[in-house]
Amino acid sequence: MTKPIIEVKNLAKSFGKNDVLKDITEQVNPGQVIVVIGPSGGGKSTFLRCLNLLETPTSGEVDFDGQNLTTLDTKKVNELREEMGMVFQGFNLFPNMTVLENIKLAPMKVKHLDDAAATKLAHELLTQVNLDDHADAFPSSLSGGQAQRVAIARALAMNPKVMLFDEPTSALDPEMVGEVLSVMQELANQGMTMVVVTHEMGFAKSVADKVWFMADGYIQENNTPEEFFSNPQTDRAKDFLSKILM
């Protein structure tokens, strides 16, 4: 049996009186692509942000590679975050740096790569996302799809074991969704472990190993995409699917 790379035990998170995550126990195995879907406000993004401790869980634990993140000191958490790349809905590229500098920053400041090595790495990653000709552009001159691909390259630069995607295509114009999804699909093909929060059902069907349906602070269903989409178990999931598959 493979050892899970991420293990979540009884995770709960509340903001004030608002209980966003109630009791979540799940695990992610190496190489798995998990797609988290569910209605808005169901806690999907909060869940994802708890995995790399951008949000501190109220209770429960998050184990990464066998270590309980919630008990570690800040320095150790910083180190483990390197292993979990994250891609955001709003790209969050650094506007004051070129594309190349965006990618080079963390490898140089955190991993202390020298400039030449970081530049080489950045060009390789940009080639991988088909954007090497934009290396010297500033983020403001990129389209949404290009910006998100740069963001993916930036996260990959730390050579993570897991990639977390928080609605990576939700802020994009429809015609740009494809280019981002194809980059993500390629990553999945290369065997990257991924946890993706998305509304792209097509992506979930074709790429996911498991679909987690999340609503009301719980993971309501955990199933293969085939099973989930053809034969949802809970009323909550049926209701959700009937609305989006119209």
């Binding site: 320095k75 180190e79 390197e82 979990m84 955001f88 004051n96 920053l105 400041k109 955190v110």
Partner: protein
């Protein structure tokens, strides 16, 4: 909220009591080591306000601007008799006694009258000169004004803090008395008819009249006790040993009539050489010195102010944990306090107040005070700038494994800096202008230098016009440079 206010006042109170405690301990130092102290360091520091010819004034001697006059001669004599070197320190007349009490200077010779009020706070030597008062008027008005009583419904000017000022107020009725810090300002006010007469000591009046053909002197006819027209050397309270020594020199000066026989004629010579060339070009070196110090003060203060501002801003944004909360409160109290008190008071507090603990030169004090002041303002800009950076930027950086510090330094601050650059630029330009405040503690920046040129040349307006243009050149150049960098930072 209420708790917060109470805490703030408690902090303030402890600060004030702390300072008072320091002040009183120094004042009560009973042992008189005044003489040994001076002998030990080998210098006798004399404080004076060099805008009062022929007592003391700036003159260009061998191409260098220095303080000369009969008071300086008196100081030299005292120092020589003590076997030490005389150091002359210039500052405004108002600041002289404070400087004496706080140990910035060992003695004050500045045509100062030993009035009973002053005797309460300082010790005086015997008088070295017995003068009288005149009133300087415009020559055209010579027929109108006879003496102090002719100014009913008019305005007489006198140096603020001087005996003439107090006596003019007491001994005239129906006359407005206007106080100004420097005599050159008073003469300028007279010539521009803002005031009708200037009360000053007779030798000074004669000097001004001799150098300016449009002025005339009339007798004042003030009813004066001897102490009001005499000049003495002031020493810190309780320095009896030093006073006794100085009295020997003073007695000698009086006995040999040195003031009238030697000192005054010598001072007169400087006055003549001084007024040979009153063109502003002749004084370019003085203005250059002014620019140099103005820039030194501004650049240093901006630099240290910025560092302090970053620290304060970060402290103010901290939270969680007793230490960080405490730091936040402290930083908030500091910012509020600095923004709520005038910079001029802060400058004097640092120079004179901190001077009780450590003896800081005027320039250092000025830079410290302005940096402390600027830091409080910059902190607020930076806090706003940091808040203006989208939280997604921090999250992106943290998700890449960057520490909080690295995120702040490489991601947030550069963007915050760009956002607040215009405000920081304004602060820099404001500092160029506000640095003029340190002229009150005698730092030779532009304003101070212009005052020297004014008393040097007896020209009121020209030096002001010159520094106005110079200030504009400085601020305009600075704003061009800042704009250049602002453009370079625009990427989005």
């Amino acid at each position: 909220m209420k708790k917060r206010v109470i805490l703030f006042f408690a902090l303030l109170l402890s600060l004030v009591t702390g300072m008072t405690a320091v002040t009183s301990t120094t004042a009560h130092a009973a042992t008189d080591n005044s003489l040994t102290k001076v002998e030990k360091k080998g210098t006798l520091v004399m404080g004076t306000s060099p805008d009062y010819p022929p007592y003391e004034f700036q003159a260009t001697v061998h191409g260098k601007s220095q303080v000369v006059g009969m008071d300086v001669a008196v100081g030299k004599k005292i120092a020589k008799d003590l076997g030490v070197k005389l150091v002359v320190k210039s500052m405004s007349f108002d600041s002289l006694l404070v400087a004496l009490q706080t140990g910035k200077v060992d003695m004050v010779i500045s045509g100062m009258n030993p009035t009973p009020a002053r005797k309460k706070s300082v010790d005086f030597s015997h008088t070295y000169y017995q003068g009288g008062y005149s009133i300087v008027i415009n020559k055209n008005d010579k027929g109108i004004y006879k003496d102090k009583d002719s100014f009913v419904g008019k305005t007489i000017g006198a140096q603020t803090g001087s005996t003439m000022y107090n006596e003019s107020k007491k001994q005239t009725s129906g006359t407005t008395v206007k106080g100004m810090t420097s005599v050159s300002d008073l003469i300028l006010a007279l010539q521009s008819h803002k005031i009708q007469g200037v009360a000053m000591e007779k030798p000074s009046a004669q000097a001004y009249v001799a150098n300016n053909k449009e002025l005339a002197a009339i007798p004042s006819n003030f009813d004066l006790s001897a102490s009001d027209t005499s000049a003495s050397v002031a020493f810190a309270k309780g320095s009896t040993a030093l006073v006794t020594k100085a009295n020997k020199s003073v007695d000698q000066i009086k006995k040999q009539n040195l003031v009238n026989k030697t000192y005054l004629p010598e001072a007169g010579k400087y006055l003549k050489t001084n007024t040979v060339n009153t063109s502003m070009w002749h004084y370019w070196k003085a203005f250059l010195t002014g620019i140099k110090y103005t820039l030194i003060i501004t650049v240093c203060s901006v630099f240290f102010g910025f560092i302090l501002g970053v620290i304060l801003a970060l402290a103010r944004m901290g939270g969680g944990g007793v230490l960080r909360t405490g730091l936040r409160w402290l930083a908030t109290a500091y910012v509020e306090f600095i923004r709520g008190t005038p910079m001029m008071v802060q400058v004097m507090f640092v120079y004179f107040g901190l001077g009780l603990i450590v003896n800081l030169p005027a320039l250092t004090s000025g830079i410290i005070a302005i940096s402390l002041n600027s830091g409080a303002y910059v902190a607020e800009y930076i806090r706003g700038g940091i808040n203006s950076v989208d939280s997604g930027q921090t999250e992106a950086a943290r998700s890449l494994g960057m520490s909080g510090g690295a995120t702040m330094r490489y991601v947030v601050l550069p963007q915050a800096l760009k956002n607040i650059w215009p405000s920081l630029g304004n602060e820099f330009i404001t500092l160029i202008k506000d640095s003029s405040i340190v002229s009150i503690i005698g730092v030779s920046e532009l304003i101070f230098q212009s005052n020297i040129v004014r008393s040097d040349t007896y020209r009121g307006v020209a030096p002001i016009a010159v520094i106005m243009v110079l200030y504009f050149i400085l601020t305009f150049t600075a704003s061009r440079i800042l704009n250049y960098f602002e453009r370079r930072m625009q990427h989005d």
